[in-house]
Structures are given as C-alpha cells and as structure tokens.
Symmetry: C2
Subunit: 370 residues, 2 copies
C-alpha cells in the first residue's frame, strides 16, 4: 500500500521510519526547500496550492495523510480521491480554525475557555472588558507553537495587540489559571475501534512544548479525557491519531486545542509504549489492526530547540533514546528530542535529574499540589 | 558523522532505520540490481571488487561498516582509510574463512567441533573415516544460511558430496549431536567497554534461522558464552556488534561460527531490549556511549522466507511487531520477520501459540530436557 504524507517535517520523518517496517511505501509532499523527511522517503517539492501537483501526488497514493494540518482545505476539496484522505477534510477543517474548533467542543459538551470572535479592534476592546482585562489573543488560523498569539493583560493596548498579529481574523480566549496541561492521544480505526494512549502531562515554555511525561496517573482525568476525545472521534468519523490538549483547572479538564495528526507530546510513545503513535496512525489509515497503546513503564520526553546538544551526555545515561531530526540549526526550531524511559516514577525522576532534566520534578510536584 | 555500510540488504536497512534518529548520515554500497536498503538511504551500486568506486565510497564516509561480511578482504586491504573500517579487517578476515575461524576459536580455548581442511576428494575420504562417517562438509568461504553445505553420512559418496559444493576449498566438521543452539551477541566500544545481550536460543530449519527467543535463562551457559565472546572481542580489537553461534552439547557450549556484524538472531532486540543491536552497533562505531542491552520482558522472533504472510493475522495478536524488508518475493529468501514481545515466558508462549508459532513451545521443551 502506498501512503502519501502532506508535509515533510519531523512528523512525516517519524511516520516514514514507522512505515517502512510495516511494508508501506511512503512518500511526502512539501513546499519547503529543505525537508527533514527527505532522508527517509521521497519528497515531492511543490506548493500546497498547486492543484495539479497535489492531485497527481494524491492520485499516486492509496491513502493520504498529514504531517501538517494547515494544508488549505480548498486545495484538498477539489481532489478526486477524497476517500483516500485520512483523517477526512471535516476533521482538518474543524482543527484549522480556532472558532470552528471551539464551536465543535461546545456542541459536544466539552468544556473549553470562554472566547470571542475578533475581526476589529472595537470587538477586541469589548471582549477584553467582558473577560475582565485578561485573555489570549490568537489568530484563528495558522498559529502553532505559540506563534500568532499574544497575552492580554489589564495594561495591554488593544490596538497594539491586534496589530501584533497583523490584524488577522482572531479569537480572544479567556485566560485559564490552570495547574498544568495534559494531552490525550487516541487512535480510531476504519472499523470504528478506538484505543487511547495513557494521559500525557506537558510543560510548555514560551508557548512551545518543553517536556512530556506519561503515563499520567489520575484515573479521574483519564476518564474525562477519554470521554471527550471519543465524542470528537465519533462526531468527525475520524480515522487515525487525534491529539487533544487540555488545561487541568481545579481537577477538571478544559479543552485547549486539538491536532488532527500525530502530536509532539506523543513522541515518547516510540519507546515508552508497546505501539508508537506513528505506527498506530499508519495501522489505522492503512486498515491494519491497531496495536496496543499500553505504556512500557514510565517515560518523559524533552524537546530540543534551536540546535541539538551533544548526544554523549544524554546517551551515557540510562534509558535515554535519541531523536535527531537532521535539521539545520535555527533559533527556536524543533530540531530533535530525547526520551527517557524507566520502570517507574522514582527511577524516571532519578534518570531525568541525572541528565539535568529538572522540569520533570517540578511538573510532578505541581500535579501533586493541584 | 557519515556512516557507510557495505552491503544494502535487510541488515543495512535496519541499520539505516536506527541511524537516522541518532543523527548519523547513512548510505550503503551494493552490487545488486535491487537492494532493500534503497527505501531508507542512498545506495551506491557497484561491485565490491571495483577498487575505484569502493575507495570513493569509503573516502566519503567517516566510518565504514558491514551488512555483508564477505566483502573481499583484498579489495578492502588497499583502502587509504583502514582506520575507518569498524569492525576491522582482521575480524572480517577471520570470519570469512571457516578454517581461520576454527583456528581462532582453538587458539583462544573456545570449544569447537573437530574439523579437517579439505582440498581433494582423497582428503575428504580420509577425514570422513576419522569422523566415523558423520560430518558436515562446508565451503571455507561464502557459505551462509545452509548454502555451500552438505551433510555427510556413512552412506554418502565423498566424490559426489565434494562435487556438490563445486570442489571448492572446504572444511569437514564433526557432526555435533546438540540439544539446541544459542547465540551470544555482544557490542564493544572504541574505549574497550563491552556489553552483552542476554543469550538467545535459536531454531533452524533447513539450515536457515527459523525462530529466536530471548532472554535465555541459563546462567551457566550465559557465563560461558560471555567468556568466549569476550576473548574474541579482545583478540580482534573488535569495535561494533559481534555475534557468535554455539551448539549446546550436554550443557556445554561448542562454538559453531561467528558473524562480524549485526545478526538475524538479534532482530528481536529492536523491541525486546532497551537498545537494539542495530543502534548499539552504530553507537559503537560512531564512538557514542553504548546503550543498555537489558531485555524488556521476553520476546521471540519468527523469520519469514519466500514471501510475507498477511500482516493482519499477526498484528491482531498482542505484542506483535512487523518487519517487512520490502523485498520482491523469491523462494527461500528472507523477506521479513515478526517479533512477539511479552512480560514473561508464560505470556510469550500464549501469544506465540495464538499466532500459530508452535516452534517456540518445542524449543522451550527441548531446552528443559537438555
């Protein structure tokens, strides 16, 4: 079976590394000059808006999936083989626009922060007042890793804030005083079977994922997360891996956003779980039986931004697994990660601290105090 | 760091899959028209005897290693960057010739079957008499997976047997009435550090590996195997993964042969151990710290010959991991494997039997009765 991936970044790279052993023929499509998936599969270089190239790429593959969820829906809507898109356009469309996403959460009864649609400075001023001066202004589209976002405080200048996101169609979200953040990754097969990964706790720095840790022990939160994500999977008739990020607010989940693809917080599933999110996404879209999502002990993942550190310090530690995406160094760019595996929490903490990964201790403390 | 692999078969393919996350740039070299590593790295197509191409390939890489141990030593001996060959020529040379290999075992006090060097039918007749009519006639060079071998029994015609291996320089080995076979895989770093994988028990069918299972519990055998393999690693100043196959004869190990590379019986280390043999081989030759060789539970691997079966039956089972090498089907060809992982022996047996892998039960029984 031939699998095409739209986008050829690190997610496509890790999908390709998982696809080869499954006997799937994989190729990617990306407008970028340099794509890090190039080392592990063929990459077609063309614009997502190039209907001819996009149609040719999709026609050449039995199934088409996404490393990048912001492929223009308009370009995909005219494809002849719609049924080959997994997940489907409906899921992509809902995730591309923060307003649609919030409306979907609301329709399904999934708690989400209060929000206001913003098209003008006047609307923004009015919304700020209703949120008592505090919120996060985000572009409706194309924001990720904290880009296209600005924090609003009582002292903020609304016009300045709006112009800082180029006055793009936006959303003002209530600022949620959360204890910490978690993500629920799930996979749904064509048959409708759903499997959930154990809950993952996340630490962000400057809007970018810094550290993830799983399995996260709260039975109550896991139950809530699974119920919320199951509703989304059913509503969207979703096939593949879906990730949903939640804030934990006084022991309850509040949905932040969803990603209709494999997710950065799920990278630890490569070594930390029986079947990785990458393999299970491929199994789902290729109509193969889903694999076990069970954790193998406890693990945490640390993202590397800008440039890779020397691997020696990490690899001399126990249970460390290296993931260099083969990217050119650039400030703020996600260039790789390390996953640390252990048999239990105490051992994981010891291993993480031996490697200088101090954020794990703080995360575990925060959670206990939450 | 750039790593070149001589040979581009499934071992090179799995080395490349392990190399990418380590940030190593990997390419392979193979004379074959179709090489299964092509899907995961660049492959130079040229003869091993083509000194110009071989020199150019080796000069373009910081380290050069082997998927195929029968690259002609004469071609490698003239390379300018000898020090980049890991393992070194001495190890390759010892493993390429069954007589050198046996002499090395003897010199190091490693028990090995009695043997006779055979160049003529007369020598073969005389050797057969000394072995009481029973033995295995093997070509000294280029034999693998039972090829270039013929069983000698009291009724055998020596001339016919010798001509069946094209009267090539040969060895007649004593037939050893073994209970079962094991392999010891070890990795040695440039620093001299050695790590041993748990012992692996193997079942062959028609001279080809059929099933492997690890960790193999006998402390006594493990101690013997580690002592023998340590001597080889030191004697050869070996860097990388070395695999040695042993017969188990009345509770003692008798060395059969060694492979100066990653080994088919070690494929189960991909999911069955903390660090796979492929990753540890790369870590060793790239001068990175070695990873833990510890088992994660118990696992077994089943080889697929000729063509891949339908993955669905296997992947619907628990703990099954699929490895399709992407090869064209051909009778007797190793085209893939499946590894089944479990937390203990009972669970592994249950999972294997549910998937119709019956050889595991027989292997475990044989071992208990040995």
């Amino acid at each position: 079976m031939k699998v095409g991936v739209l986008g050829a970044g690190q997610l496509a790279r890790m999908l390709a590394l998982a696809a080869h052993p499954l006997g799937l023929k994989v190729a990617a499509y990306d407008p970028a000059l340099e794509s890090c998936a190039t080392a592990v599969c063929a990459v077609t270089r063309a614009a997502f808006e190039d209907a001819v190239q996009l149609q040719a790429f999709c026609a050449a593959h039995d199934v088409v999936t996404f490393d990048f969820e912001n492929v223009p829906v308009a370009a995909l809507a005219v494809l002849n083989n719609q049924s080959a898109l997994r997940p489907n356009l409906q899921a992509l469309e809902a995730a591309q626009d923060r307003i649609s996403e919030k409306q979907l959460f609301e329709r399904l009864g999934i708690p989400t922060p209060r929000y206001f649609e913003i098209s003008t400075v006047a609307q923004l001023r009015s919304a700020i007042v209703q949120l008592n001066g505090c919120g996060i202004l985000k572009t409706r589209r194309l924001g990720y890793d904290g880009r296209g976002q600005v924090r609003i405080e009582p002292s903020s200048d609304a016009a300045l804030a709006f112009s800082s996101i180029a006055c793009a169609p936006a959303i003002l979200e209530q600022f949620v005083p959360f204890s910490y953040e978690v993500s629920q990754i799930a996979v749904r097969a064509i048959s409708g079977e759903i499997r959930f990964y154990p809950l993952i706790a996340n630490v962000h720095r400057a809007g970018v994922l810094h550290l993830s840790c799983s399995p996260w022990a709260s039975t109550k939160l896991s139950g809530q997360a699974q119920a919320h994500v199951a509703k989304l999977l059913l509503e969207l008739d979703y096939v593949g891996v879906l990730a949903v990020e939640f804030f934990v607010v006084e022991g309850e989940l509040v949905a932040n956003e969803m990603a209709p693809r494999v997710h950065n917080s799920g990278h630890l599933t490569i070594e930390g779980n029986v079947t990785s999110q990458f393999e299970n996404h491929l199994r789902a879209i290729a109509d193969l039986p889903l694999g076990s999502t069970d954790a193998r002990g406890m693990s945490c993942m640390l993202n590397f931004l800008g440039e890779m550190p020397d691997p020696r310090a990490f690899l001399s530690g126990s249970g460390a697994h290296w993931h260099d995406y083969g990217k050119t160094a650039r400030s703020g760019r996600k260039v790789g990660h390390v996953t640390i595996c252990a048999s239990n929490k105490t051992e994981l903490l010891e291993r993480a601290e031996a490697l200088g990964v101090n954020a794990l201790h703080a995360l575990l403390e925060q959670a206990e105090n939450a």
